[in-house]
C-alpha cells in the first residue's frame, strides 16, 4: 500500500487491474485504492510478472502492507526499491482518549500552609532557623527574608510536636536546635567511668521476685542518680536565657527517646528526684510509649531542666551529647560493658558504664562538672538509697 499523501495512514484496495500471471511494465496502473480524498490509481515501478495477490479487493490495510508480489523476469533491469520500515511510533487514536475511569483519590482536608518565600526558606535553612517559630509579614502573610533575619536574634524555642509525629519537621527542628546549640553554647566535656557492680547486683535482687511488668531497668538507676546529684550541684539544672543562668526550682529530667523513623525527642519526667525507682520506671515506659505514638503533653516538652541520654545495650561506650538550648547540660550514659577493673589491688571483671557530661562553659567549669559526675558515681554505689 503506497503512501499517497503526508497524512495517509491506510487505504482500501477497491480494484485489482491485474491478476497473477500478468506481465507488468514500469508505470502500469495495477490497482485502485480508496482514500479519504477519493480513489487513486496505483502505479508499479518494476518490470515482471504478478506472482500472487496478497490483499483482496475490499480490504483496508495500513500504508506499507505488501499488496502483491511481482517476480522479475530474467534480464529485467529495474531494481526493486526496499521499503522503509513503517515508523513504529504509536499513532494517536481516539481510543486512547477513552481511558477507564480511575478511582477518585480521596483528598485529605487542606491544612492551611505557611507561605514562605523561596529566598526566606533558603536563608532560614542556612541559619538553622525553625520557620515554625517565625512570623510572616510579607505578601499574603508570607515569611520573607526580613522576618527570618529578625528571628535570628530571638531565643530558639523547643519544637512542639503535634498529634501524629511529622518526622521531617522534627528533623528540621532538631537540626535547627543542634546547630544553634553548637554555634552559641561553648561546650566542655568530662567523662567518668563508673563501677556498676553494686548497682547491677542490687537490681538483679530487686527484679528477682517481680513480675516482668514490675521489673526495673538499669537506666532508671542512672536517672535517679543523676537527679539526686543535681540537688548537690544545681548549676547544671536550669536554663540560660537573656545572658544569665536561671536555676530551676525542680528537677525535670528530659529523657531522650529515639523514635522509629529517625526522630529524637526528650520529654521531661517530672520531679525526677522525688520519684521512686518503680515510679520512674512506670513514667519512663509511659513516656516512651506515648512519644512513639506522638501523644505528648506540651508541658512534657517545654519543661526539661536538663537532658539525659542513655544509649542502652546497643550503643557506643561513650556518648557525648549536644546540649539542648536553653538547657545548660546533657548527661550521657554509654553502653554497660564488662571490663577489667582494679578492686582492692585485684583485677576483676566488672560491669562499667562511662558517664559523660557536656556542659555550658558560660555557666560552669570543669572543676564543678567533675564534682557533679563524682556525685552521680557515688549515688550509683548505693543503689538501695536511690
Amino acid at each position: 500500500m503506497p503512501a499517497l499523501g503526508a497524512d495517509m495512514e491506510a487505504g482500501t484496495l477497491v480494484e485489482w487491474l491485474v491478476k497473477p500471471g500478468v506481465r507488468v511494465r514500469l508505470g502500469d496502473i495495477i490497482a485502485v485504492v480508496e482514500t479519504q480524498k477519493g480513489a487513486i490509481e496505483v502505479e508499479v515501478f518494476q518490470e515482471g510478472v504478478v506472482s500472487n495477490i496478497l490483499v483482496p479487493e475490499g480490504e483496508r490495510v495500513p500504508v506499507g502492507t505488501v499488496l502483491a508480489n511481482i517476480e522479475n523476469a530474467p534480464g529485467a533491469a529495474s531494481p526493486v526499491l526496499s521499503q522503509n520500515e513503517i515508523a513504529a511510533a504509536p499513532k494517536p487514536t481516539q481510543d486512547a482518549l477513552a481511558e477507564p475511569p480511575r478511582p477518585s483519590l480521596s483528598v485529605a482536608p487542606q491544612v492551611p500552609r505557611t507561605k514562605i518565600t523561596p529566598a526566606a526558606r533558603r536563608r532560614a535553612a542556612a541559619l538553622y532557623i525553625d520557620l515554625a517559630t517565625v512570623k510572616g509579614t510579607g505578601v499574603e502573610g508570607s515569611i520573607r527574608l526580613a522576618d527570618v533575619e529578625a528571628a535570628t536574634s530571638a531565643p530558639c524555642a523547643t519544637p512542639s510536636v503535634k498529634r501524629g509525629v511529622d518526622l521531617t519537621e522534627m528533623r528540621r527542628a532538631i537540626a535547627a536546635a543542634m546547630s544553634r546549640s553548637k554555634r552559641e553554647i561553648p561546650h566542655y566535656y568530662l567523662t567518668e567511668t563508673v563501677d556498676l557492680h553494686a548497682a547491677s547486683t542490687w537490681t538483679e535482687r530487686f527484679n528477682a521476685d517481680k513480675a516482668p511488668a514490675q521489673r526495673i531497668l538499669p537506666a532508671v538507676l542512672f536517672l535517679k542518680a543523676a537527679a539526686l546529684a543535681l540537688r548537690e550541684w544545681p548549676q547544671f539544672n536550669g536554663v540560660y536565657t537573656g545572658g544569665v543562668f536561671v536555676p530551676a526550682p525542680e528537677v525535670h529530667i528530659g529523657w531522650a527517646i529515639a523514635l522509629r523513623g529517625g526522630g529524637l525527642i526528650a520529654p521531661a519526667i517530672r520531679d525526677t528526684d522525688r520519684k521512686s525507682l518503680t515510679e520512674l520506671m512506670t513514667a519512663m515506659r509511659d513516656l516512651v510509649e506515648r512519644a512513639r505514638r506522638g501523644i505528648l503533653r506540651s508541658s512534657e516538652l517545654t519543661s526539661p531542666t536538663i537532658t539525659v541520654t542513655n544509649v542502652g545495650d546497643r550503643g557506643a561506650e561513650t556518648v557525648k551529647g549536644v546540649i539542648y538550648p536553653p538547657q545548660v547540660a546533657i548527661i550521657g550514659f554509654g553502653r554497660v560493658v564488662s571490663r577489667p577493673w582494679v578492686v582492692e589491688d585485684r583485677i576483676e571483671g566488672r560491669p562499667l558504664v562511662t558517664v559523660s557530661l557536656a556542659a555550658d562553659h558560660r555557666v560552669t567549669d570543669g572543676h564543678i562538672g567533675g564534682l557533679y559526675l563524682e556525685a552521680i558515681a557515688r549515688y550509683l554505689q548505693e543503689p538501695e538509697k536511690l
Binding site: T117, P118, A119, R122, T137, G138, V139, E140, R144, L145
Partner: protein, 335 residues
C-alpha cells in the same frame, strides 16, 4: 539639519531627530543602504522622521512606496537577499499585519531553509503603541508578538542614545531586525552625550540602581517607570529600573542579576497581558531565579480590550505611573 562638526559636550535633540540622524548616517556610510516606505520621501514621513532625506539622497535611495506593505516589505527581503541593505519603514505596527507573511514566512525562514546560503540583512522600522487617542486599529503594541519569532531581532529603543545608535548597530548585523519606535517618544527631548557613538544591541541596561524592587520595562513605558521610581523613592522605596532595549534576544542575564539584588520584580509592558513578553520574562525569572525571590512576580500591562478612543478610557488601558507605584509598593510593604 546637520549636527555641528566641532565636538560639544552634549547635544540636545528629540527622539525623532535622533532616529533621523541614524538614518542619515546609514545612508552616508554605505551606498547599498536605501529606504522604502509610505510617505517617507515627499511627505517627509508620517512622524516626520525622514524629513529632508529624499532631498538629500534622491528618490532612488529614499523611495516612496504605494500602499503595498506586503510587496515593499517582501521587496526588502529580496533586496537584502540579493546584496543591498534596505531599511523599510512600515508606518505603524498596525499595518505590519499586511506584511506578516513576508516577515515570518520569508525574512526569517530563508536563512534557515536555504541551509545558510542567504542572509537577510533587512531592517524594518515601525511606530508602535497607544496614547494618541487613535482607537483600536491604530494603537497596538505588537513588539512582544514579534519577539516570539526565532530568527528575528526585536529592538525597542527608548532613550535618545538608543534611538540614535541602535539602528547603526542593527546595520552591522546580518539578521532581519525590527525596530519599534513608540509614538509617544518622538517628541521627547533629551541630551545626547557627544562621546557616545555606538551602543550595543544585545543587552538590557540598568538605568537606575535600586535595592527594593526591580522594575523591568521597555519602550514607551520606560519613562512612566522612571516617574514611578521617583515617587517610590519619596516613600523610601528604592526601585531599580531596567530598560530591556531588546526583546529578542532578551538579556536574561541582566534581568536575573537585578532580581537577585532586589528579590522583587514588577514587569511593565504595554502589550495585552496574556501571552505577552511580560509573561515570557516572568517565566524566565521563575525558571532561573526562583530561589532569589522574596515576593511573588507582578506585572503592569495593557488592559485586554481593543483600545478605546475616549481619552479617559485609553488612559485606563495603558500602564500608568500610579499603577506601577501601587503594585511595587504592595510588594515591598504589604498591607
Amino acid at each position: 539639519m546637520n549636527a555641528p562638526q566641532e565636538a560639544v559636550a552634549s547635544l540636545r535633540m528629540t527622539y525623532r531627530e535622533a532616529c533621523k540622524q541614524a538614518l542619515r548616517q546609514a545612508l552616508l556610510a554605505d551606498s547599498r543602504v536605501f529606504l522604502m516606505g509610505e510617505d517617507i520621501g515627499r511627505y517627509g514621513g508620517c512622524y516626520a522622521v525622514t524629513k529632508g532625506l529624499m532631498e538629500e539622497f534622491g528618490e532612488a535611495r529614499v523611495r516612496d512606496t504605494p500602499l503595498s506593505e506586503s510587496a515593499f516589505v517582501g521587496a526588502g527581503v529580496g533586496a537584502a537577499m540579493a546584496g543591498t541593505r534596505p531599511i523599510v519603514e512600515i508606518m505603524t505596527v498596525n499595518f505590519s499585519l499586511l506584511a506578516l507573511d513576508q516577515i515570518l514566512n520569508n525574512a526569517v525562514t530563508i536563512p534557515y531553509m536555504s541551509g545558510g546560503q542567504f542572509a537577510i540583512p533587512l531592517i524594518i522600522r515601525m511606530a508602535t503603541g497607544g496614547g494618541r487617542r487613535v482607537a483600536a486599529q491604530h494603537s497596538h503594541s505588537l513588539e512582544g508578538w514579534y519577539a516570539h519569532i526565532p530568527g528575528l531581532r526585536v529592538l525597542t529603543p527608548a532613550t535618545i542614545e538608543d534611538a540614535r545608535f541602535m539602528l547603526i548597530g542593527a546595520l552591522a548585523d546580518p539578521n532581519p531586525t525590527l525596530i519599534f519606535e513608540h509614538v509617544m517618544l518622538y517628541n521627547m527631548e533629551g541630551e545626547l552625550s557627544s562621546d557616545i557613538n555606538a551602543v550595543d544591541i544585545d543587552h538590557a541596561k540598568v538605568l537606575r540602581a535600586g535595592t527594593d524592587v526591580s522594575l523591568i520595562t521597555y519602550g514607551g513605558s520606560l519613562f512612566k517607570t522612571f516617574e514611578a521610581a521617583a515617587r517610590l523613592s519619596k516613600e523610601g522605596i528604592e526601585a531599580e529600573v531596567v530598560d530591556l532595549r531588546t526583546l529578542r534576544p532578551l538579556d536574561t542575564k541582566t534581568i536575573l542579576a537585578s532580581v537577585a539584588r532586589t528579590r522583587r520584580c514588577v514587569i511593565i509592558d504595554e502589550g495585552w497581558r496574556s501571552g505577552s513578553i511580560s509573561a515570557e520574562i516572568g517565566m524566565r525569572i521563575a525558571e532561573q531565579a526562583f530561589f532569589e525571590l522574596d515576593a511573588p512576580l507582578r506585572r503592569v500591562c495593557g488592559r485586554e480590550v481593543p483600545m478605546p478612543y475616549a481619552p479617559h478610557l485609553e488612559d485606563a488601558c495603558l500602564p500608568q505611573p500610579e499603577t506601577i507605584v501601587a503594585v511595587a509598593r504592595e510588594l515591598v510593604r504589604p498591607t
